[in-house]
């Protein structure tokens, strides 16, 4: 049988899926072991146990100076910034995306501007944001919004344009007003694609969050990583990276699950990713 026609069983698929993860961990453990044989005080590749201890220290032992459980404070603050930023972006995507996609005059007025605006590298705006909004929460949230909203608006507008013209005409012949078409046809058709846009937007959102926190912050996952970098504290940085990845993964899965639950009709015809 040709290899393209051989399908793994469920168990094989699971094992194959786990293989690269296990290989990475084992590879790391070996590399770390040999480095520490040369120099027991090595900081670059700390042992799995020391990383576990560092993670436990961050998660369960109150900080000596502030008395906080640093991991949870960092996580909460970062997720709050990320969540607020993405909520604003999603709201902007929904309102502007639908207006641009549905109403030709709005499209003519805003589409070229938006196309230009979305090409500004968001990080270059960060200094401007710090100058205008100060170093507080607003500047960080604004960076996330500026970095993600234009692309999300554009993909939402495209999703509106992708609604088959037949459906819109059918709604007109059923006596729908523009508002009724928006709430009963356009929004329901676009929401599942907005969730996809949100999932795609989260990838750059994390980058902007970590960058903003690294530059000016006193809490947050990005702040912590860049803070302990000064002490070469790989035993904190590596678990934090894994933790951030896990959070991003769970967020993505949760959104996919919400989409599948709420928009069953959208996922009927087979699904990708």
């Amino acid at each position: 049988m040709r290899i393209i026609n051989r399908k793994p069983s469920r168990l094989t698929a699971l094992a194959l899926g786990l293989l690269p993860f296990v290989a990475t961990i084992v590879g790391y453990a070996i590399a770390s072991h040999y480095r520490r044989l040369d120099n027991p005080a090595d900081k670059l590749l700390p042992s799995l146990e020391s990383m576990g201890q560092a993670f436990w220290r961050m998660a369960a032992i109150p900080d000596r100076r502030s008395g906080d459980l640093l991991l949870w404070v960092d996580t909460f603050d970062s997720l709050w910034r990320l969540g607020t930023g993405m909520a604003v972006s999603t709201l902007l995507a929904l309102t502007f995306g639908i207006a641009i996609g549905f109403i030709p005059h709005v499209r003519s007025a805003l589409a070229p501007y938006l196309a230009t605006f979305s090409l500004i590298p968001p990080i270059t705006i960060l200094p401007i944001l710090f100058i205008t909004f100060g170093l507080g929460e607003l500047a960080k949230i604004a960076l996330i919004v500026i970095g993600t909203a234009p692309v999300m608006i554009r993909s939402t507008a495209q999703a509106v344009l992708d609604i088959p013209r037949e459906m819109i005409i059918k709604a007109e012949t059923l006596g729908a007003s523009v508002w009724q078409m928006t709430v009963r046809l356009v929004i329901p058709q676009v929401l599942p694609k907005l969730i996809t846009a949100l999932r795609m937007g989260l990838v750059p959102a994390w980058i902007f969050l970590i960058s903003a926190e690294a530059i000016a912050s006193t809490t947050g996952l990005g702040y912590r990583i860049f803070l302990v970098r000064r002490y070469l504290a790989m035993d904190v940085i590596l678990p934090y990276v894994v933790w951030i990845t896990l959070l991003a993964f769970l967020l993505d899965r949760a959104l996919l699950l919400i989409s599948r639950r709420s928009f069953r009709w959208h996922h009927l015809g087979g699904d990708a990713l």
């Binding site: 013209r165 005409i169 012949t173 006596g175 009724q180 009963r184 046809l185 009927l268």
Partner: protein, 277 residues
Amino acid sequence: MTGSTDIKLSVRGLEKSYDRTPILERVELDVESGSFCTIVGASGCGKSTFLRMLLSQELPTRGEILLDGHALPDEPTPDRGIVFQKYSVFSHLTVAENLILASEFERAPLAGRLFGMKRRQAREEIDDLLERIGLSAAADRYPAQLSGGMQQRLAIAQALAKKPSILLLDEPFGALDPGIRVDMHELLLGLWNELGMTIFMVTHDIHEAFKLGTRLLVFDKIRHDPQAPEAYGATITYDLPLSSPSTELQQGPEQIAEAIGLPGQSDTPIQIETKTP
């Protein structure tokens, strides 16, 4: 045709061009109320364009279309129902939701949606209709879970929700199996007999056109410039009454098919029936 007092729709000097390329030219037509006009023609002859203009999905380049003596509105309105070949029904709504949508638009201007008692009432109102189109058991399914024939039955029922005086059908059965097509013909003829609306149906199946229509309109180019094949548009070349038994049919489906270069064979057997509008 002229002289009748009951003209539903008139087309006067209709022309349509895209980027100066004429698609349709010099189309003249009067259609009596309650007619079932079937429209055939080679692909690219502008028959679907003609239907889209009847729907106001597109506007004529020149000429006018009069509905009950008044110019058509510039956009689709509830007085003209439409069934497309696909995407006719709303994929995010179940069968029942698709059918109550029109009454939700009418009764809930702001929310576009009925709740509680009113919703249940609207749902009960469509019970008979669901039965009629054989979708009672599928009422809570999404269109993607229906067969092609079921989807088109739903599309027809939905298009008739606002009791339009004109029903437009753009190759509605083009994607269906022959056996299912015959069922669809019966449903459509039954609804037409009952409601008496004027129907325009574009089809590429000449036998279907003969079987269903009271009047057959054939679109074709009559002027040809061999140096510039795009120079002229199509117009109505045959206008055959099919209903009255007194009319001797000079042309059968095969002759028409040959005249306009369509395949004459069909999967469905020819059944020219006498019909009562």
